[in-house]
Symmetry: C2
Subunit: 354 residues, 2 copies
C-alpha cells in the first residue's frame, strides 16, 4: 500500500474547509450501494466468488479511462492499523474493515472518491466534498457509477430499482450524509431538540464513524434513512434543505453565545486551547472536544491564532489512533497514544501564543 | 489606614521565600498571648475598658523607642474589605476581624511583627519569618514582648505563668507554627499518614487561615497544641524537629514523583500552568491549587519559566478576595472576583511561554 504513508501527513481534500458553509458543515458524502448481477449477496458469497468480484473491479478500473486514477488496495496486504487508518479517513467503514482478507478499496488520490468492495454490498461507491455540496458529490459519484455500469452488470429490478443486501437501501441505493460541527447547539443545550426534530423527518443522526458511534467533538453525521420510493434528487434536496436549517440554528446559537459576552463561554474556549497547548497525556475524546471549542473560538473571532480551520480539521484526523501509529511508524498502546497525541498537538500548536 | 494601599501590591517580607528550606516551609510564625493586669478577659471587658487597652497600647508604642516603627490601625476606621485584607495577610486573625469596632492591630512596615489588640486575649504578639526560622522569630517576638512588659504590667502567676483567656494558652502563651507547602505528599497520597502521625505528637494541622479552615493549594499550617508545662525553647525545638522530618518526607515524595518520570505528573503540572494562562473565570480554590502545582514544577526544574517562588507566593496572596478588591479599588461580587482573579493571573504570567 504505497500511498498510505503519503496520506498520513495530510488531511483528505474534502477536509480542507473550502466548500460552502464549511464553518458548520465539515463535509458532504454520497454513497451508492450496488451489487453485481450473477453473484449472491455478501453473506452467501463463497471465497472464490469474493476474489472474482475484486478481480472484476480491478479489471474495470484498468480498462476504463475515467476510472484509471483510482488505486485499488486489497485488504490481504494490510495490517490492523492500516485498516483502522482507512476507517479514520472514512475511505472504508468499520464494517468493511471487518472483511479483512477478502475486502478491497479503490480510491482517488485526493480521496474524494472511494469504492468499498465487499462491504455490506458488493460495491459501495462514495464521493466526498468539503462543506455543504451534495450536488457536486452527486455529479462525481453519478459519473463513477455510470462508468462502472458500462463495464459490469448491476443487479437491478425495473420495479424496485437497485437491489441491495439490506432492504432499506433498495431503490436508488443512495445514502446522502453531511457531517456537521455543532458546538453552538451543544453549548446552548439545544442539540437534543434538533436531533428529535430530525428523527421525525426520518433523518438519522450518528457519530463521526457512522452507525453505532457516539458524537465526539460536537460532530454529528446526518443522513437519509430510506431510499425506496424516492428519486436521487429528492433525497439530496431533502437533506440539503434540512441541513441548511440546522446550519441556521447553529449560527444563531453561536451568535447568541457571543452576544451574551459570556465570560463562561470565553473561559471554556481559552481553557480548551490551554489544555491542548499544555497537556502531556490526552485522550482522543478529550482532544476532539477541545479542538471543537478552539475551532469555534477561531470562527467566532474570539481566538486570534495562526491556525486555519483546515489545520484544525487536519489535526482532528491526525490524532486518531491509527494515524498516530502510522506517523510514529510503530504500534502504540493506549497510554503511549495518549502521550504521542499530546506531543503532536503541542508541536502543531507551538506557534500559537496565548 | 494610609499604608494599606501600599501593602496591596507586594507580598509581606516573610513571603519572599528567602528563609531556610523555603522550597517547602513557606513561613514560620510565633505568637504570644498576653493580658494586661487589672482588666478582665475579653468576654467580660466593657467598651470603655476596651478603649483603655487600645489607648494603653498606643501609648506604649509612642513612648518606647524600640516599638516606634509599629503603626497602629484601629478597626473603627476600616471597611469589611479592609479587615478581610488584613486577615489575608495574616496580620490579624478571622476571630480578631470579628471584633470590628473595638479591635486594633499594630504592625511593622515589613509585616514581620503584628500585635493584635483585643483578639481572644488583650494582646497577641506575632512575628513571622520566611522559611523554617523559628529561632529568628523567637528573638524578634521576645524582644517586643520584653519592651511591652516594661511599659505595661502583664497578668502573670508565678506558678502557672502567663494567664490567658483560654486554658490551652496558659503558661508561656506561646504558639509556634509553620506553614508548609506539601504538594509532593498530597500527590503521592501520603499526607494523611503524616497528619495522623503529627496528631499523635500533639501537633495541630490546619488550613491556611488557622483553626477551622481547610487546606487549599496543598498548604498546611502546623503548630503546637499545648503550652502549659513547657518552656519556650522546648516548644520551638519540638516543632522545628518535627517540621524537619516532614520536610524530609516531602522532599522524598517530590524526588519519587520526578524519578518515576511519570507523564501523569508532568501532565498535571503543565495543565495547571495552562489553566492559569488561559482561564477567564477562576475561583480562589482552583487558582491556589494550580499555583501550588506550578510552584512544584518550578522547584522540581520541570517548568523553566521566568517566575520565582517569591512571584508565586505573592500571586497566591494577591488573588485572595480582599486583595483583588483593594487592587481594583472597588467592591466585587464573587463572579466579578473570579474574572478579576483570572485577569490578574494572566497579566502576571503574560511573559511565561509554554
Amino acid at each position: 500500500m504505497s500511498r498510505m504513508s503519503d496520506l498520513v501527513r495530510q488531511p483528505a481534500e474534502w477536509l480542507r474547509a473550502s466548500g460552502p458553509m464549511s464553518d458548520v458543515v465539515v463535509s458532504s458524502r454520497l454513497r451508492l450501494a450496488r451489487n453485481i448481477l450473477g453473484f449472491p449477496f455478501l453473506e452467501k458469497l463463497k471465497n472464490g466468488q469474493k476474489a472474482q468480484i475484486v478481480k472484476a473491479v480491478e479489471e474495470s478500473l484498468k480498462k476504463n479511462e475515467a476510472l484509471k486514477n483510482l488505486e485499488i488496495v486489497r485488504f490481504d496486504g494490510l495490517t490492523e492499523v492500516d485498516l483502522q487508518f482507512l476507517v479514520e479517513r472514512h475511505l472504508i467503514s468499520r464494517e468493511h474493515a471487518g472483511q479483512k482478507e477478502a475486502g478491497a478499496v479503490a480510491m482517488s488520490p485526493d480521496e474524494v472518491v472511494s469504492i468499498m468492495v465487499l462491504e455490506e454490498d458488493h460495491l459501495r461507491l462514495q464521493a466526498f466534498q468539503s462543506g455543504l455540496d451534495l450536488q457536486k458529490a452527486w455529479q462525481i459519484i453519478n459519473k463513477i457509477d455510470n462508468e462502472f455500469d458500462g463495464s459490469m452488470e448491476y443487479a437491478f429490478n425495473p420495479g424496485l430499482g437497485y437491489l441491495t443486501a439490506c432492504p432499506t437501501n433498495v431503490g436508488t441505493g443512495l445514502r446522502a450524509s453531511c457531517m456537521l460541527h455543532l458546538p453552538g447547539l451543544v453549548l446552548t443545550k439545544q442539540v437534543h431538540k434538533v436531533l428529535q426534530a430530525l428523527a421525525k423527518l426520518n433523518l438519522a443522526a450518528r457519530g463521526l464513524y457512522g452507525e453505532g458511534t457516539q458524537a465526539t467533538g460536537n460532530l454529528f453525521q446526518f443522513s437519509n434513512q430510506m431510499t425506496l420510493g424516492q428519486r436521487e434528487d429528492e433525497i439530496i434536496d431533502n437533506l440539503e434543505r434540512v441541513i441548511r436549517q440546522v446550519v441556521e440554528h447553529e449560527k444563531e446559537a453561536r451568535t447568541h453565545l457571543l452576544s451574551k459576552k459570556s465570560g463562561k463561554f470565553e473561559d471554556q474556549i481559552w481553557r480548551a486551547l490551554g489544555a491542548l497547548k499544555c497537556g502531556r497525556i490526552i485522550s482522543s475524546t478529550e482532544a476532539t472536544q477541545h479542538l471543537s471549542l478552539v475551532q469555534l473560538g477561531v470562527q467566532a473571532g474570539m481566538l486570534k491564532i495562526n491556525l486555519t480551520q483546515q489545520d484544525l480539521n487536519g489535526l482532528f484526523l491526525l490524532i486518531q489512533p491509527a494515524h498516530l501509529q502510522k506517523l510514529k511508524a510503530k504500534a502504540l498502546n493506549s497510554g503511549e497514544r495518549d502521550e504521542a497525541r499530546a506531543d503532536l498537538i503541542r508541536e502543531k500548536l507551538k506557534n500559537v501564543t496565548l
